[in-house]
Symmetry: C2
DNA sequence: TGACGACTTGACCATTTGGTCAATTCTTGT
DNA sequence: ACAAGAATTGACCAAATGGTCAAGTCGTCA
């Protein structure tokens, strides 16, 4: 199951520790605010050792960002099939909620990269992401033509999905404060997950046509 | 209409220029990433002059944050009355969309403050914001009891509203990229605003009970 | 076992950082 | 007109920053 032979496990271990530390620092204070010494501290290696594995802070950031994009793409493909809108949307929203739960740092890094003007992922936004949106706008348009969902601007729907699901990662501090100070438990999160799916689906999917005459 | 007599207009002008510059820098790179020299550069004053008006970077940040909270509170009160859910929600969502349009930097600063763990507004979250949520949960519960909206977790509804509306501020770079590279025009934004209101309202408000028998 | 490359790290460097200060130049009220 | 406070700013400082380097230690494979 290993993709790359692990060179030495020393290298693999150290790179992993440094990348994990980098992820958490970048998520908290963004690229500009991050310091290599703080990353080294969290990874529990001397700063010089960090620079032995990753030449520059920008290199480190680029690699961390690349993993975020990869994960984003994997979730994105979960909406590809042409199922019924309710099913396709539920699957996609659920997947995004799972991502917010399991990889909140990635979501936060994405957010702070966007907020600083996306200098590093401008290209990704303009090509890959733009294409995903264009492709899926067509799907939504078809659902509208077929009378399955209300006529809505597809982009507004995508933005609502992204915003709401990622909110559970990016604003987890605020959510915890509203939850009596503690992060959502697994059960609480699962409830939220279902609730989000239910609300967003209802926001666009037409209820089944009035049952012809039965009852 | 002036609240404080403007001391000298020199002071007022300089403070305003510095605060505006600070807002834009903090919005882009957060508190940790911001530098006083960059703020001074954007305000077009020497750094020493900036420190003449604001003693420390933290002071500046605190003041900028305070204004964000004030604005947030003014929008929050727009949902207070006990109107029909559709009206109350539409007004509140519309107000939040307006805020995202007119004060996007404030929204971004809020987001980055939350992402770094909200060290500076923890108290606001745990008191003022928590109370607002508690109070309005009651309103939503009543709407549910009255059968006016579907049974939803009030917090999940608030989070969806905040997330979606603030997305138009925090992720404007990404939205522009999806819009062919240009920020939303006034008309495009107005369309989005209406669309967001429509979707969120539909996500919770029950359609009028099947019209008794007419037609 | 020994040699060679991988790994480790304290000391160091130039630059940038937040912030200070004293000397100077306005403004303004009388 | 002029004194007194308000405003301006170049020069400066200690600390922190991203990054380097040389001198070592360790792992492993023949």
């Amino acid at each position: 199951m290993q993709v790359k032979p692990p060179k030495t496990s020393i290298r693999a271990d150290n790179e992993a520790a440094i990348l994990a530390a980098a992820e958490s620092v970048f998520a908290e204070v963004g690229f500009k605010g991050a310091t290599t010494s703080e990353i080294a501290r969290r990874a529990d290696v001397p700063k010089a050792n960090l620079h032995y594995y990753f030449a520059t802070k920008e290199d480190l950031y680029r690699i961390v960002l690349q993993r975020v994009l990869t994960v984003w793409l994997s979730a994105a493909s979960s909406m590809d099939d042409n199922e019924e809108p309710e099913v396709a949307l539920s699957r996609y929203i659920g997947m995004k909620m799972d991502l917010s739960r399991t990889m909140p740092l990635g979501s936060q890094i994405w957010a702070s990269e966007i907020m600083r003007g996306a200098p590093m992922i401008k290209d990704f936004l303009e090509t890959t992401l733009k294409e995903w949106v264009s492709d899926h706008e067509i799907v939504v348009q078809r659902w509208i033509s077929d009378g399955k969902i209300y006529p809505v601007a597809p982009k507004a729907l995508f933005f609502m999905i992204w915003a709401t699901t990622q909110h559970y990662a990016d604003f987890s501090t605020q959510i915890a404060a509203m939850n009596g100070g503690a992060p959502l438990s697994d059960e609480e999160f699962e409830t939220a997950r279902l609730q989000v799916i239910e609300m967003i689906v209802r926001s666009v999917v037409k209820p089944p046509a009035a049952p012809a005459k039965t009852l």
